[in-house]
């Protein structure tokens, strides 16, 4: 079947298998491998992207369902070599170690920040419930998201 999508501002038309999951469409068809696959039970959140502005686990959706949708993946965030402020906050707060969960975390955090004007630590922790990280213990991820939201900008390290 045919789908037309807009991903990271570019329009695409593709012939796809009806059963193709969105995450594999992004990774295998478009080559956007920044979006990761960490499970097959929609538990880990490594595959989180924005679909029409909402954060979605892209392994829970068929590519066919994304027909006509505008999507954003991690690859679109940094512009001309400059990190997005939220990516910057992850960097400044050492919010990633192996980095495998990171793109999903960042994408999930983007919508958490947008949905919570007066973001608190509890909001971040609850909002990230569907995104697993095995390396960081979440401490610095939570700090980074709060910092990225413009609150509590107190990085553990400083810019080089």
């Amino acid at each position: 079947m045919r789908v037309s999508t807009t991903v990271n501002g570019r329009s695409y038309e593709h012939e796809i298998e009806p059963r193709l999951l969105l995450v594999y469409y992004l990774r295998d068809v478009l080559g956007l491998t920044g979006t990761k696959v960490g499970c097959d039970t929609s538990s880990c959140g490594a595959c989180t992207v924005l679909v029409d502005g909402e954060s979605v686990k892209s392994c829970t959706m068929l590519a066919a369902q994304a027909d006509g949708c505008a999507m954003t993946t991690i690859e679109a965030l940094a512009v001309d070599g400059a990190l997005d402020p939220l990516q910057e906050a992850f960097h400044d707060n050492h919010a990633l170690q192996c980095g495998f969960c990171t793109s999903g975390m960042v994408m999930a955090a983007m919508s958490i920040i947008r949905e919570h004007p007066g973001l608190t630590e509890a909001d971040v922790r609850e909002g990230l419930e569907g995104n697993l990280c095995r390396c960081t213990g979440y401490h610095n991820i939570v700090k980074a998201v709060l910092a990225g939201a413009g609150r509590q900008a107190h990085p553990v390290g400083a810019a080089r």
């Binding site: 491998t33 960490g38 630590e121 922790r125 390396c135 610095n140 107190h154």
Partner: protein
């Protein structure tokens, strides 16, 4: 005591932001699964649904006829591919039993998940779909799940071995001393603990892609592994392909925690298939396969006894372990208990020591290294036992610990178990942790709530830990029957333009090697850390290495980088002295330049020296061109980081809910290269340990089926389950290495499990609860409270 935003110039000890981050933050970093390999075939593995069964027949013809399938093989088909079975590199005793472990089982499957056939397709879907068309006729046999039951040999997992008893290993330096300590003891504590099995669950599952060059006979193996160097050696041995024909690349790797410290069936399979089919072959592990066919951690029954005098001074410790090997021995399966075997006396000065461990086969996934490997088990035995002793004596847990600490003036301390602890100063770490946890005030609040009869009870748990890391002095490994050395290699090279390349044998998967190694070199040479490039994880570029595990990277690999840098400086000094017509002794390296002492105007930048070494126009007579040095560093001893963690929990005695309300970690890992990275390691480690205490367990039913093979059943905690942490540190440098560093990758995991469990039991102690298995789920806690209530009622009656 959190690190604040001091400007980081990249020198040792500053929180330089990570060089690794930008590619990871932008999605640019390529993990194995992200590599595009034209023409690659996809392998899918058929796994046994039975824990124990004979394979009566296996028919792959249906799979071969499936669309998109290129080939399919049974274990028998591939038997001739293997020059050797999959390796166990740590046969801990001379009479250890080692079952033959082939990448595909041939006649018999020994755990649920054992591989029996492989299908290779043009796409992953084609291969996976065709698995359904393979017909296997199994004759199911009884499972062996329980460890005590396994010891009876009523059902033997591997008939050819005749018994489920894999080995018994003992460390009893002075049996008479132990016996007399127990005979004379005023107090004896006897405890039994169960280490549930854990699934390491790195967020990236395993993956491998083998690219052959059929005409050159070379193979490049891309694998999500912690150990490309060891893997290269082992895959050569298993497949019979000469080692020099193999190149192993670990690209970006999404966490390991020990689970990628192994040589796996699928790595050997993809290599053999690429050899047979003369095409690239790749395999990606599904999460359910990660639960079943990647190693699991822990899996032990521990008995620990303490003999104490009237004042609570412990005079002897006696430990007996029953360790679950699983169905096969993976790379270091039998050795895991030995990594803890020397540490069951913890941070305490205990003069008599006895340790015995029996490894036993079951029909379950093999166990092996899982963050901490042996040392969390040791700490989880001694620390709850110390609480039990405090309870018996009616003393505060902090006081009992203080009375027994190895005195600071005794370091280097020769332990009864036979190790020499490099350095330690345990009191200040305990003091700081108690202060950060507001210990006195929290004890008072605890008492107030008890007095008020509140359901929400406060519990405070202490864990004073020591670990041994920096694996390992090669001679010590030899004495433990380990088949390899424990050294690490590094090359430091100044290039023509004055930039620096570091080649390290230690392979990162999240630890931040690139940043830390750059800091070490930048600090010594006086260059900008951005001018340092770190190469790792590719055996073609970094041919020598022993890889990453056991918190060894900094204290072995980092020290190798330091020493190589010192060698480079020595050569550079000779060149500078020659060119400046000064004596070497008169030159000092300041801010990246050699200066004549007392005459700083006479100087030569290290970059200029590098260029001179490159052109070789004017070097001292007989000196080789180039400015580089290689070091292979074999550590003279382990390092012994330590610290105190304090957990404060709120336990609802009505519902069994445990809420971790505060967590304090004070760690001493010696000198720190990058305190930001140290803190990150502690955070992550602590959550993994908390997870063992409160959430995670690989559950097998009586038939040997793994009941927790997805992330919906196996509860890896999310941000919503854990709090933020309060961190502190003390610094007691290691005298073992010139950097004074120790290691920190596993400390959090080692310390936190007992801290949390001690806290839960502390909350429940007034209700008469004295024992609780992990994880302390609401159900388990509630049941323990009910049991204690019934027992109390029984007594009253």
């Amino acid at each position: 005591m959190t690190v604040t935003g001091v400007p980081a110039d990249g020198r040792i000890g500053t929180p330089l932001l990570r060089k690794e981050d930008p590619p990871l933050l932008t999605g640019e970093a390529r993990f194995v699964e992200d590599l595009v390999v034209p023409g690659a075939l996809h392998a899918a593995v058929l796994r046994s649904p039975h824990a124990n069964a004979r394979i009566r027949s296996l028919d792959i013809s249906g799979a071969l006829a499936s669309p998109g399938v290129v080939a399919a093989f049974t274990g028998a088909d591939l038997r001739e591919e293997w020059a050797q079975p999959l390796p166990c590199a740590w046969p801990v005793t001379a009479d250890i039993k080692i079952p033959e472990h082939l990448p595909l089982a041939v006649e018999h499957v020994s755990y649920g998940g054992d591989a029996v056939a492989v299908v290779v397709g043009e796409s992953r879907e084609a291969a996976v779909d065709a698995l359904d068309a393979v017909v296997v006729d199994y004759e199911p046999l009884p499972a062996v799940v329980d460890l005590q039951e396994a010891l009876t040999d009523r059902v033997v997992v591997h008939e050819s071995l005749g018994s489920n008893r894999c080995y018994t290993w003992s460390l009893i330096p002075d049996p008479a001393a132990v016996d007399s300590a127990f005979a004379e003891a005023a107090h004896v504590v006897k405890e039994r603990y169960v280490q549930q099995r854990l699934i390491p669950n790195a967020m990236e599952t395993r993956g491998v892609c083998v690219v052959p060059q059929p005409f050159g006979g070379d193979y490049t193996i891309y694998s999500a592994t912690q150990i490309p160097h060891i893997l290269k050696v082992m895959l050569g041995i298993v497949t019979g392909i000469p080692e020099q024909k193999l190149r192993v690349v670990a690209p970006w790797v999404g966490g390991g925690f020990g689970s990628k410290l192994n040589v796996y069936a699928e790595e050997a399979l993809c290599l053999a298939l690429a050899r047979r089919l003369k095409r690239p072959v790749r395999w990606t592990e599904e999460r359910i396969e990660n639960a079943q066919a990647t190693i699991q951690g822990r899996g032990m029954i521990q008995e620990i006894e303490l003999a104490a005098d009237r004042d609570g001074r412990v005079r002897a410790v006696r430990v007996n372990l029953l360790a679950d090997m699983g169905a096969y021995l993976q790379l270091v399966t039998p050795g895991i208990p030995l990594l803890g075997a020397f540490l069951y006396h913890g941070v305490y000065d205990i003069p008599a020591y006895a340790f015995t461990c029996t490894g036993v086969f079951t029909t379950k996934t093999a166990t092996d290294a899982d963050r901490g490997a042996g040392r969390p088990e040791a700490t989880y035995a001694i620390e709850p036992a110390m609480d039990a002793l405090a309870h018996q004596l009616g003393l505060d847990p902090a006081e009992v610990r203080r009375r027994n600490f190895i005195a600071t003036e005794k370091f280097p301390y020769s332990s009864a178990a036979g190790l020499v602890f490099d350095s330690g100063d345990y009191g200040p770490a305990l003091d700081q942790a108690l202060e950060l946890a507001a210990y006195e005030a929290t004890r008072k609040e605890q008492q107030d709530r008890r007095n008020a009869g509140a359901n929400k009870r406060i519990g405070i748990g202490l864990s004073c830990y020591v670990e041994m890391c920096g694996l390992a002095p090669s001679r010590v490994l030899a004495s433990l029957n380990y088949s390899a050395g424990g050294w690490e290699a590094a090359t430091v090279r100044l290039m023509a333009t004055g930039k620096v390349q570091v080649v390290t044998g230690s392979t990162p998967h999240g630890q931040g090697h690139e940043t830390c190694w750059s800091q070490i070199v930048a600090d010594r040479l006086g260059v900008d850390p951005d001018d340092v490039d770190v190469v790792s994880g590719d055996t073609a570029l970094s041919p020598a290495g022993m890889d990453t595990y056991g918190s060894r990277s900094l204290s072995v690999g980092g020290v190798a980088v330091w020493q190589a840098t010192e060698k480079v400086i020595a050569k550079a000094r000779a060149i500078a002295a020659h060119q400046m017509e000064a004596s070497e002794e008169d030159l000092e390296l300041v801010g990246g330049s050699f200066q004549v002492k007392g005459t700083p105007s006479r100087s030569m930048a290290i970059q200029a020296v590098a260029f001179e070494a490159f052109t070789a126009h004017n070097l001292p007579d007989g000196m080789e061109p180039g400015l580089e040095a290689q070091v292979t560093y074999d550590p003279p001893n382990f390092t012994f980081p330590f610290g105190t963690h304090v957990a404060v929990v709120e336990v609802d005695s009505e519902t069994g809910d445990v809420d971790l309300v505060r967590y304090v970690a004070v760690d001493d890992c010696g000198n720190q290269v990058n305190p930001m990275i140290v803190e990150g390691q502690v955070h992550g480690g602590v959550v993994q340990g908390i997870a063992q205490a409160l959430y995670e367990e690989a559950v097998y039913d009586q038939d040997g089926n793994l009941r927790t093979s997805t992330l919906t059943d196996y509860l890896v905690p999310s941000a919503a389950e854990v709090p933020s942490f309060t961190l502190g540190h003390t610094v007691t440098p290691s005298p073992t290495n010139p950097m004074g560093v120790k290691g920190v990758g596993e400390a959090g995991t080692i310390a936190s499990t007992p801290a949390v469990m001690n806290a839960v039991l502390d909350a429940l102690a007034p209700l008469g609860v004295t024992a609780l298995d992990m994880p302390a789920s609401p159900q388990r806690v509630w049941e323990a409270v009910e049991r204690a209530k019934k027992a109390a009622e029984g007594e009253e009656r």
